[in-house]
């Protein structure tokens, strides 16, 4: 199996290198076939690994593949930890990635950076796989940074576009803030547990859960709490949790397949995965879990609200992603790790579907992203319409759709949780259901129903198209719509209650909220039919009806509501001022300070006085001294004799003890 494990990440790496370096020579179609074949290999092998885990009696694999260097007792290694959690992530990552690869053929069809794009997404798949397969913190960090790098490259894929460059810089910088915490967290783990290897860290942590450290003054802090919160700050950056979420909506400047793959399905879920992976650590810290719970709940509700006032189709989905990531963190914070991961998986499918669907619309409308210039598109894009409807229904948690199971379990789990912040979180996620349904159906109605508001220019463009959506873009939609609908039917039971994860996820018995729920679980059908007992269902229905009423039945009411709720509307449009906070306050003060130090410290003192000043002095000295090299033989000989005398003097001085 070791070869298989190695082949899974390496195949896309090789693809990335081949396409990246020789793409121009290979041409477009060879390049995309190489890239797709590489990911297809990973996908198939990942499924084999999963099958081995489920039915082949596969034991978790935890071993070092390559030792990079050894520093004292510290080992820097590349190693794989393959257990059921990893296998699930590998399958999710590779299969969504494969769909996106195929879809890209159509979406990027006319782009001049075609090969570059394929090279990047292959590289991304490699990095993401390295991240999830890691068995130590160093490799986790490598994967973490590598996906961040590719994300940066892809957000700025159209690097001539000013807004894209701004967005990728923003993503990069905000992630630096998160990574700062992440790195400190890893450092804390290394410092107190003396290892970077997961297993030994977990063992040392379990052995001494009450270790304390003093950071400031005499106050004693629990090491595990500090480490977990620092790690979670990293997760907040990567998984876009408030207040580090500001980069994700802007990342929509990147090509849509990227929004689907990186900024919805996989990379942004790295934080969720990381917390689940670290469950043996987080379980030891009630405080850290409360932080996770509260941050997640806040993001889940308030970011969803912003989605209500966005008009760019991709940004609505982006805010929806923020909100859903919040749900996943709430699941984790309630110790229902399995529920968080389960929602991660279902969300990966339906959110990728929604993004790819919106991409199809955008291409069909000649790069129109504003929903106010859409409407009644179900006439032109029937397949996109149906698949996006499935995605939307899954997202809002319609009974029997995959999202219903994953989201409802999170809500129930947090309802059963007892830690600080659980009540707040419960209300947030419950109200969030209404918001989710409202913005989702707002999008759906604005795009597919109502009157046609297509720009004449785009209309003109559409009339030249033989087909509005290329088949190569439709197939991934269909292939993603199927799991969005059905995946939970087979997986919800084992993953949530059947002990699928085994030892991969550790939950302290006192915290096990899912175990409390297990008594109510009588299979997916029973759970689906039980919808009437869940308040979430009524909230979702209310959201749907509100959207229908406002956008289909009485569209005239909207301006009135907007002007009544002027203040709220403004707050939402300004996104609660987070952007202002980061850009003007932190960014502005930071830049001001930097400029001051640059002017005074660097230009005047270091460059002016020290560097250039000393260089000028040395130059002047050299200019004078060069005359010593006169070219006259007797000067040279004289210098030698002087030198001899100096040496003799030194010697005599030493002998007489002058220097003693």
């Amino acid at each position: 199996m070791e070869t298989v494990y190695l082949a899974i990440p390496l195949a896309p790496l090789i693809g990335a290198i081949v396409v990246g370096l020789f793409g121009k020579t290979l041409g477009r179609s060879v390049s995309h076939w190489v890239a797709i074949a590489a990911v297809a290999v990973s996908t198939v092998l990942s499924f084999i690994v999963l099958r081995e885990m489920l039915w082949g009696g596969g034991q978790p694999y935890n071993d070092t593949v390559y030792t990079w260097m050894v520093l004292g007792d510290l080992r820097f290694e590349v190693g794989f930890l393959i257990d059921r959690l990893t296998a699930l992530m590998m399958v999710t990552v590779t299969s969504v990635s494969l769909m996106v690869h195929i879809y890209t053929i159509g979406y990027m069809h006319d782009d001049s950076g075609y090969q570059r794009f394929f090279s990047y997404i292959n590289l991304f798949t490699f990095a993401m796989l390295m991240l999830v397969m890691a068995n130590n913190f160093l490799q986790l960090f490598f994967g973490w940074e590598a996906v961040g790098l590719v994300s940066y490259l892809l957000i700025g894929f159209w690097y001539q576009k000013e807004s894209a460059v701004f967005a990728n810089l923003k993503a990069f910088l905000v992630n630096r803030v998160g990574d700062f915490g992440f790195l400190l967290g890893i450092a804390a783990v290394l410092m107190y547990f003396g290892s970077l290897d997961y297993q030994s860290v977990f063992q040392s942590a379990q052995a001494s859960p009450d270790m304390t450290m003093s950071i400031w003054g005499d106050a004693e802090w629990s090491v595990i709490t500090v480490a977990c919160i620092l790690l979670f700050i990293g997760a907040m950056g990567k998984s876009a949790q408030a207040p580090l979420h500001v980069w994700l909506p802007d990342s929509m400047e990147g090509p849509t397949p990227i929004s689907a793959l990186i900024h919805a399905a996989t990379m942004v879920t790295a934080g969720i995965f990381m917390v689940a992976r670290m469950s043996p650590l987080f379980e030891l810290s009630e405080t850290a879990l409360s932080v996770v719970l509260v941050i997640g709940a806040f993001t889940a509700f308030f970011m969803g609200l912003i989605g209500l006032v966005q008009n760019d189709i991709k940004r609505v989905i982006a805010y929806s992603t923020l909100s859903q990531l919040g749900y996943m963190f709430v699941g984790l914070g309630a110790s229902a790790y399995a529920a968080g991961i389960f929602h991660l998986m279902t969300h990966a499918f339906f959110k990728a579907l929604l993004f790819l669907g919106s991409g199809a619309i955008i291409v069909a409308l000649h790069h129109e992203q504003d929903m106010r210039r859409m409407g009644n598109l179900r006439k032109y894009l029937p397949i996109t319409h149906i698949t996006m409807l499935i995605g939307t229904l899954a997202l809002i948690g319609t009974p029997f759709f995959s999202g219903y199971y994953s989201k409802d379990i999170i809500i129930e789990a947090v309802g059963h949780a007892h830690r600080a912040g659980a009540t707040f979180a419960y209300w947030m996620v419950l109200l969030g259901v209404f918001v989710t349904a409202l913005y989702s159906f707002r999008l759906y109605f604005m795009v597919f129903w109502g009157e046609e508001r297509i720009d004449p220019h785009a209309k003109e463009h559409m009339s030249h198209l033989p087909r509005y959506v290329m088949p190569v873009m439709e197939w991934p939609l269909i292939l993603l719509a199927i799991p969005s609908l059905v995946i939970a039917w087979f997986t919800a039971g084992p993953v949530l209650f059947g002990g699928y994860f085994g030892d991969a996820i550790f939950v302290a018995p006192a915290n096990d909220t899912l175990a409390e729920l297990a008594g109510h679980w009588h299979g997916p059908v029973a759970f689906g039919l039980h919808f009437w007992a869940s308040p979430a269902f009524y909230l979702a229905l209310a959201g749907f009806l509100t959207a229908w009423f406002l956008y289909i039945k009485q569209p005239g009411l909207l301006p009135a509501i907007q002007s009544r709720g002027r203040l709220l509307y403004e707050v939402l449009v300004r996104k609660y001022g987070f952007d202002w906070l980061w850009i003007n306050l932190f960014g502005g003060v930071g830049r001001g300070l930097g400029r001051l130090l640059w002017r005074v410290g660097d230009v005047t003192l270091i460059d002016g006085l020290i560097v250039n000043g000393s260089a000028r002095t040395v130059g002047r000295v050299a200019g004078v001294l060069r005359h010593l090299q006169s070219g006259y033989l007797f000067h040279y000989a004289f210098a030698m004799i002087i030198g001899l005398l100096v040496l003799l003097t030194i010697f005599i001085g030493q002998w007489r003890g002058w220097f003693a």
Partner: protein
């Protein structure tokens, strides 16, 4: 006194080179017409076989023969292999240069080979007399080589200066040796070592002798203030000869120091240590500062040599086996870089045009990006950028002096290295960022290109995998 038959087989490498030098002289007499091609190939063959003989006959031995005048040990082998290897490189570079200037004569090879023989004798010297013999053989060959282009006014002037100053330094060295002999009563370095350790610093005569010996060694290295000949000779000599003088004789100077002072007068370390500190700091300062204002590439490299000598001396100052290892490693790796740098000057020159000015480097990247990259490696290596062999050379000597608690010296050396970085990087700036109108493509023979490319890559590869070379140098000092 019984005459003991010496063990000739031990001295096989020297015997072989000496014989072949004579053979080549004769062969060349009869095969003149074809640009002395037989002489060239025979010379290279001689050196290759010589390397093999040196390793085969002397590696792992520790034997003294010729009545205590000649020693065969690991140090001798490493030094000889380095000398012959660098000689090989120098001859390979020279051929096209000499051909283009109608200087391609068999005497070049014979003189060069005899010079290498002199160095080898120095490497194996176990008596002051043998050492002096080897030194004079080397020096005489060098004087003649510098004047090899006898119609060149600058060449003759340089040779004359070199000769007079060389004679002066030889006189000083000989004077010092005579004093050492007077105190210890022996020419045998082994005996001197014990006697010097016994008499120690109390004996003013011995210490006086030491001072003169140090001056002789310093002249050979070109350490300040005995460096004056270097810029004039480097500039005046034909570039091929400069390449020869600038490389292998540095290793010979290490031999001179190690045999006479490092081993022979080890007991006086507290005396020579301070003298070397003066020489080293002076060399670092003068070499780097003077190099800043040079416009002639060969002069710039000459001052660069002086500054590198300052670094090299740091290893001797440490006075530990690690320090000696570092110094030897420095000498070998510096010679390799210097060979490449002079090779680059040769590459850019052609008949009737000497690319001696630093300005001639301008726009090299546009003319040939591959050789621009080689230049980048060489200059980086001289600066001491990690990834090149020059980094390890500097690192080892600095570590050696820090290990003996002379941190201040390491700091001084690093400061001057920073100053030195300026003129190396200025060359690179010209190579990469300056544009020249009508810069023509490079015209250079294929052989020269291959040698230069190999040389540059060797600097890079040794910079990434320096272990084997370091191990060889360490083996020379029995660790």
């Amino acid at each position: 006194m019984n005459f003991q038959m010496p063990d000739f087989s031990l001295a096989l490498p020297e015997l072989w080179v000496a014989t072949m030098a004579c053979v080549i002289l004769v062969v060349d007499l009869f095969a003149r017409g074809r640009e002395s091609a037989p002489a060239f190939y025979l010379t290279q063959l001689t050196l290759l076989v010589g390397i093999w003989l040196a390793i085969d006959a002397q590696w792992g031995r520790d034997a003294v023969t010729f009545s205590g005048s000649y020693v065969a040990d690991n140090l001798a082998v490493v030094l000889k292999v380095a000398m012959m290897g660098l000689g090989l490189l120098a001859f390979a570079y020279s051929r096209d240069y000499l051909r283009q200037r109608d200087l391609l004569k068999g005497e070049f090879y014979v003189l060069g080979l005899l010079g290498i023989l002199g160095m080898m004798v120095m490497a194996s010297a176990h008596s002051m007399l043998t050492m002096y013999l080897g030194l004079e053989l080397l020096s005489l060959c060098q004087y003649a080589l510098v004047a090899f282009n006898r119609d060149s006014r600058m060449g003759s002037e340089a040779a004359m200066k070199y000769f007079v100053l060389g004679a002066l330094s030889s006189g000083l060295l000989l004077y010092g040796l005579s004093m050492v002999y007077g105190v210890t009563g022996s020419l045998d370095l082994g005996v001197i070592r014990e006697a010097a350790a016994g008499v120690g610093a109390q004996n003013i005569m011995l210490a006086f002798g030491l001072t003169f010996v140090v001056v002789g060694v310093a002249f050979k290295f070109g350490a300040v203030p005995f460096h004056m000949w270097i810029p004039d000779v480097y500039q005046g000599a034909p570039t091929a000869v400069t390449l020869y003088i600038g490389t292998a004789p540095k290793v010979a100077a290490v031999a001179l120091f190690m045999r006479l002072i490092g081993e022979g007068l080890a007991g006086l370390q507290e005396h020579w240590e301070l003298m070397l500190v003066i020489l080293a700091v002076g060399s670092l300062a003068v070499g780097n500062i003077f190099a800043l204002v040079q416009t002639n590439m060969k002069r710039l490299l000459a001052y660069s040599t002086i500054s590198h000598v300052g670094f090299l001396l740091l290893g001797f100052i440490a006075g530990t086996p690690e320090g000696y290892t570092a110094a030897l490693f420095y000498a070998v790796s510096y010679s390799l870089m210097a060979a490449g740098a002079f090779g680059m000057v040769i590459l850019l020159s052609r008949r009737g045009f000497e690319a001696e000015e630093v300005e001639d480097m301008k726009g090299l990247n546009d003319r040939h990006s591959g050789f621009a990259f080689i230049m980048l490696i060489l200059m980086f290596s001289m600066t001491g950028v990690p990834g090149t062999v020059g980094f390890y050379a500097k690192w080892l000597v600095l570590k050696a002096v820090i290990d003996v608690d002379m941190v201040w010296l390491a700091v001084v050396a690093v400061i001057f290295a920073v100053i030195g970085a300026f003129y190396y990087l200025r060359v690179l700036k010209m190579v990469y960022f300056d544009r020249v109108e009508g810069g023509e493509a490079l015209q250079a023979p294929a052989g020269l290109r291959v040698v230069l490319a190999g040389n540059g890559l060797a600097v890079l590869i040794l910079g990434i995998f320096p272990d084997s070379l370091i191990a060889a140098c360490a083996a020379a000092f029995g660790s």
